[in-house]
């Protein structure tokens, strides 16, 4: 099956006073139909530029993007606008038309697509039901909360039944509770309509909650990409590690040596591994932090342990943990 989105060797540079700035360098990613694909990185990593290359709001300097097999580089402007109707986008600051009511905002993309007014309004009402805002039809954006505004933006985005929905830091301006509600809505939309969703974020929590795949960007290059559960269990690159540990707030206080991070999956959490290990080695260990994450519907546990100073025992403990089929990794954290 051909990928829904194919990013092929995309580079983007911007001219600036001090020569050119490379925002993206040789990025290649495939995203399948139905994926919820996360793109994560620190600010300035090039996430926003990359997502704008998918609908050609930014034209790549080199490389190209294929949407459902269609090469955006080769098509005319008119055809590009037509294609953009299949690639909807939502934003951090919602970007609603402030002078239009909620329902007229949702009708806007339908107007652009040339849908008859009466039909557009019927469709808009249907969409308001999907996002749970039937009662706000005639309100203006200024009368809505942040979460409600993003719901309107989502309704507006999916009005033309797009194949793809790009979310540019869509929950970054929202509080945690509202963030959860919006993420659930996105997941629901992905399931119900099979829309491929691309999520740009700087928060690992967002990725864990809804994405099945992730790409990690760092300084305009692709650091790592793969299934979320793999990267979460065994982050390979520095950048990936930094982001995965982001959720463990205790890391900031750790000093000393012999830290290991272990990850449990559902099977391995039945056995009391840590207790058994302490009992069999007769040596105490220090639990620095522990957390459980819901990744793609599966409970995955994470724990940071401080092992004894003696290298011999510590190495044996690591061997013991690996033996129990846990992902173990020595970490060296100076935050």
């Amino acid at each position: 099956m051909r990928p829904m989105i194919q990013i092929k060797n995309v580079s983007k540079s911007f001219p600036s006073k001090a020569g050119k700035v490379d925002a993206l360098q040789n990025i290649s990613i495939d995203m399948e139909q139905g994926d919820i694909f996360g793109i994560i990185g620190m600010s300035g990593a090039g996430k926003s530029t990359l997502v704008r290359c998918i609908n050609f709001l930014e034209r790549p300097t080199e490389g190209t993007v294929l949407i459902d097999g269609k090469d955006l580089q080769t098509i005319s402007n008119k055809e590009l606008r037509k294609t953009r109707q299949e690639i909807a986008m939502i934003f951090q600051h919602f970007n609603l038309l402030m002078q239009r009511t909620v329902i007229d905002n949702i009708c806007f993309p339908l107007e652009i697509a040339g849908v008859r007014k009466k039909k557009a309004r019927e469709r808009a009402k249907e969409l308001l039901k999907i996002v749970g805002l039937e009662h706000k039809e005639n309100a203006y954006p200024a009368q809505l909360s942040g979460g409600q505004k993003q719901r309107v933006a989502i309704a507006r985005a999916i009005a033309n039944n797009p194949k793809i929905l790009l979310c540019d830091e869509a929950t970054s301006a929202l509080d945690p509770e509202t963030t959860n509600a919006i993420l659930n809505l996105l997941k629901d939309i992905n399931k119900r309509f099979g829309i491929t969703i691309v999520v740009i974020t700087h928060e690992m929590k967002v990725i864990q909650k809804i994405c099945n795949k992730v790409a990690i960007l760092s300084g305009g290059t692709l650091a790592e990409t793969g299934l979320v559960k793999d990267i979460f269990t065994e982050p390979k690159t520095e950048e990936a590690k930094r982001l995965v540990y982001q959720g463990t707030e205790t890391t900031a206080y750790m000093r000393g040596k012999h830290f290991v991070r272990i990850v449990f999956n559902e099977q391995s959490s039945f056995e009391p591994v840590i207790s058994n290990m302490i009992l069999s080695f007769q040596t105490p260990i220090n639990i620095m932090g522990a957390d459980t994450h819901n990744i793609g519907g599966k409970a995955i546990g994470e724990m940071i342990l401080q092992l004894p100073e003696e290298k011999e025992i510590a190495d044996k403990m690591i061997a013991y943990l690996i033996n129990r089929k846990l992902a173990v990794e020595e970490v060296d954290i100076h935050v």
Binding site: L96, R100, F108
Partner: protein, 221 residues
């Protein structure tokens, strides 16, 4: 206090002033609105950047706006005569008024349209909106409050210009004020024309601001 002829003259002056101002504002917008739109979209950060077109309009508007209006009236006499057939009276004054109003309105429109959130424009682009659709349905609609405020200011300014043209026989209340107040020392008539002008500006200003607030949905509660 005044005889019937004087009152008739003041009435005519009022009508002439309104006629000059409103026609000039309308024609000024006919030219200035597209000019402001083009200045906005051809700007470096606009949706259709074009340095050459931007520069031409930029320089043109700066030249016209740096000529004092009273000089512009004199400068344009041959041109006015060519179009209207004479160089004095209220209809003739409309020509320099429109020429002066166009760049003024163009700049006003430009600054209003630039207030529109860049993100909203980007959202429209992401939906596949054409440049024309963005102008019509995003820029002009989202900026309607600053546009109306700008229009109110434009009316006031052009009304002031029309009175200034009175110095060279432009017709209207300004003309009366100059002829009676300055040349004939009839201060009472001058004061009446001033009061009429002040009331007129107040009314137009009040109406414009009322309308712009009434139509603004950004702060709807």
């Amino acid at each position: 206090m005044f005889n019937e002829t004087t009152i008739r003259m003041l009435q005519d002056g009022l009508v002439e002033t309104l006629y000059m101002t409103l026609i000039s504002v309308c024609m000024g917008y006919l030219l200035g609105l597209p000019m402001g739109v083009i200045l906005t979209i051809t700007d470096k950060k606009g949706i259709r950047p074009n340095a050459v077109i931007y520069k031409i309009l930029d320089v043109f508007s700066n030249i016209v706006r740096s000529i004092p209006f009273i000089i512009l009236v004199v400068l344009l006499i041959p041109f006015t005569r060519l179009i209207i057939g004479k160089s004095y009276g209220s209809t003739a004054t409309i020509v320099p008024l429109v020429i002066a109003a166009t760049p003024f309105i163009g700049r006003m429109v430009e600054s209003s349209l630039k207030e529109v959130d860049q993100g909203v424009i980007e959202a429209a682009q992401s939906m596949g909106a054409s440049t024309w659709t963005i102008i019509r349905k995003v820029l002009l609609v989202e900026a309607r409050t600053p546009l109306l405020v700008g229009a109110t200011i434009a009316v006031g300014t052009i009304l002031g210009y029309s009175a200034m043209a009175g110095a060279v026989g432009g017709g209207g209340l300004g003309d009366i004020a100059i002829r009676y107040g300055y040349y004939r020392y009839q201060t009472d008539i001058m004061i009446v024309t001033i009061v009429l002008l002040v009331v007129l500006v107040q009314l137009l200003q009040g109406f414009g601001m009322f309308l712009s607030k009434k139509l603004d949905r950004r702060n709807t509660k």
